[in-house]
Symmetry: C2
Subunit: 423 residues, 2 copies
């Protein structure tokens, strides 16, 4: 095939060692692996029949109507994103939470991952004043997908170590270590996912308010990644309130509603930032995808999407979460395992205290046995300190079939048990 290609410095970012690449490649591994596969990695949401049937109904309605279908697939959307969708969402957020938003506060992207790349590189990195500002992650573990989006040789993130509260019943919870956290002009942005991917932690209302206050005072934007959160898909099992103010950039997604194939992310921010997103959309991809927004817009207008979240999606994942916790207790009762308090999202985060092998070694052993999980050490963007806890945790996606989760947990238990015994 000729000589090796010459790639620019920019292209070096896209080498195969990235955790995000591994994560997404694993999603397709089932088809390439012999023997049974237990797919507990990745972030694929469940196929919830009641939810999917509503999207099917909407798609059938649109595909039966030449004009509506022509709009959905046959016309470029405006670069800010579908006007019906942004208008309906602004109205919903106003109606439900009293946020003073119009369509000028909302833009659509090709998925949250695209949103993050744009947001972090636009608010942090190199500035005209010669400074290099980072994105502060006030609580790690934090989402693996952030790690690789920085376009610079220097790290774009600074991760902050949490405090750990051990709770009754073998649970634990990370908290933001507010005492040691200083937010100032060194940072271009601060970001939390809520619920947290990977841990299922929900940063408390008090923690979030305090973060927002410090960010406001330091004039540093606060990014809230609500991909699993509020107002939709609403996979939160605690009494958390959503928050927006002009200093906050809220990221939402259609993926965890059950629509990852349409690639639709949503950014809620002040108009100045939305114009930047619009321009970036035009330059990077002419316009964002139109299928997801057209599919969902009508469900925003009559509040049926929120009903779906409250009545079907949240209870569905809550049952799954309770079941996976029961499974861990019964299958791993003999192991020194702590479960992060499962407050949201579709993962359990298991901490094997003093695990004798690293989470990467555990990942490899499990992969050899057909069980795909995510090794915990990937989830500490910008936390370089050598903290053993980083290598003792795994993320398990429980969105798939109960039988698969159960069998996968048994294999995980066996593998972990062997590793403790070997020492």
């Amino acid at each position: 095939m000729g000589k090796t290609m010459k790639f620019s410095r920019y292209a070096k970012r896209f080498d195969s060692g990235s955790g995000t690449v591994q994560l997404m490649e694993d999603l397709g591994a089932a088809r390439r692996t012999r023997g049974p596969v237990y797919m507990l990695g990745g972030g694929n949401p469940a196929h919830i029949p009641e939810v999917q049937s509503i999207f099917q109904r909407e798609m059938l309605r649109i595909a039966s109507d030449s004009a509506a279908f022509g709009r959905m697939v046959g016309d470029y959307d405006v670069p800010q994103g579908n006007v019906e969708f942004t208008t309906a969402l602004a109205s919903l957020l106003n109606r439900k939470f009293g946020w003073p938003l119009g369509p000028e506060n909302i833009a659509i992207t090709n998925g949250s991952q695209s949103s993050f790349g744009l947001i972090f590189n636009s608010l942090a990195g190199e500035f005209d004043d010669g400074r290099f500002r980072r994105v502060l992650l006030p609580i790690t573990p934090e989402y693996i997908g952030y790690s690789d989006v920085g376009i610079y040789d220097k790290p774009l993130f600074e991760g902050h170590r949490p405090t750990i509260a051990k709770l009754p019943g073998g649970f634990f919870k990370y908290h933001i270590d507010l005492d040691s956290l200083t937010i100032d002009d060194r940072y271009g942005a601060v970001c939390v996912s809520r619920p947290t991917n990977p841990t299922g932690n929900v940063v408390t209302d008090a923690e979030l308010q305090e973060l927002a206050r410090r960010c406001r005072e330091a004039d540093v934007p606060l990014v809230i990644d609500g991909a699993y959160g509020l107002p939709f898909p609403g996979i939160i099992f605690t009494e958390a309130q959503p928050l927006w103010e002009p200093n906050i950039i809220l990221c939402l997604s259609l993926s965890k509603l059950g629509l990852p194939g349409v690639r639709a992310g949503i950014i809620v921010a002040r108009p100045e930032f939305i114009r930047l997103v619009r321009n970036a959309n035009a330059i990077n991809s002419l316009a964002p995808g139109r299928v997801g927004p057209e599919l969902v817009a009508a469900l925003l207008e009559d509040d049926s999407l929120l009903d779906l979240c409250n009545e079907i999606i949240r209870p569905y994942y809550k049952r799954k979460m309770e079941h996976v916790v029961d499974c861990v207790r019964s299958i791993m009762g003999d192991l020194p395992v702590w479960i992060h308090q499962p407050e949201g999202a579709l993962f359990v985060w298991l901490w094997f205290e003093n695990l004798p092998i690293t989470s990467e070694q555990l990942y490899q052993k499990l992969k050899d046995r057909g069980v795909f999980i995510l090794a915990g050490h990937h989830f500490y963007p910008g936390l370089d300190e050598d903290w053993p806890h980083k290598y003792q945790c795994i993320r398990v996606n429980y969105a798939t079939d109960i039988a698969v989760v159960e069998q996968g947990l048994k294999i995980i238990a066996d593998t972990v048990r062997e590793s403790y015994r070997a020492t």
Copy 2:
């Protein structure tokens, strides 16, 4: 809303002055403008009823099948892009053209515009050897969308001035000025769109072969942007042959088939480059959209997509093209207008020789009268020389209703006529 936000140097790229932003914003202008609007700007393809009805049929089939619909919208695709699609396309390209390709040669992106950003920045720009390599555009006018994708302060493109052949009947054709073209290690890549957006030019087979030869010898990859071309949508009215070899990166798209809303671009290249695209997809957006590929895959397998291109799409645009040429002749017969030989795509490129106002001034005057076109001067990425021809041309999209095109041309004729009279 608080203080002005601080944006990084990266974000400066996304200011509102970009031609791409203007182009895409104009597409949404109809809804914001009073009075009649003649939308002859942008690159929106026609809604061809026979074509759309086939996509509707496919969508209805998939949306009626829970498993198929669940795959399309409910699962992340692998980051390289839909396996059914890449397998079917590789097989088609092999079958039709004898190209030795497998699915490892094909990746999917969120539209051609995303492909270009990745390709140009990965093959050109800053290198570890300290050099800054540009992308050579051997023939301008060339696609406006390339202009803004470079991530550097320095220009990423070097445009080459064409020769102009005046032809009988008021036509003209640009040719690559091969005599003055040197391809060497100064360039990271060479790129041509074929058919050319904006001119409807089709670089001849001989020109393309010569470009490919020089690129191969200089070990510089040749990018062929076939968004309007071969094998689909096949909007080419001359006898052009498609070309691929390991040194060529061929970019295709589903947009001009009538599916711009799904945002699906396709890259055909050697596996080494496809792996880079896969990794970039994972890092930049987890996975590309799945709706377009799932919608079209079955039509690739049984060749019905190519039949559609040959029997419906090409003849449809050919009739439109012949009509718009007739209109220009009858409406502008008194003006010194040259039509670029319309060999493909869905535009006519009109050259008003010695136009007394600039194409930007003409664009503004036309916009005030409700006619949206694209001013020609945007289409010279990296051609800085002060060549009056750059300001004497406009691009007119003729994909829309005949009556709209006709009325738009009348207003263009009136406006141009006034400008000649005023001098």
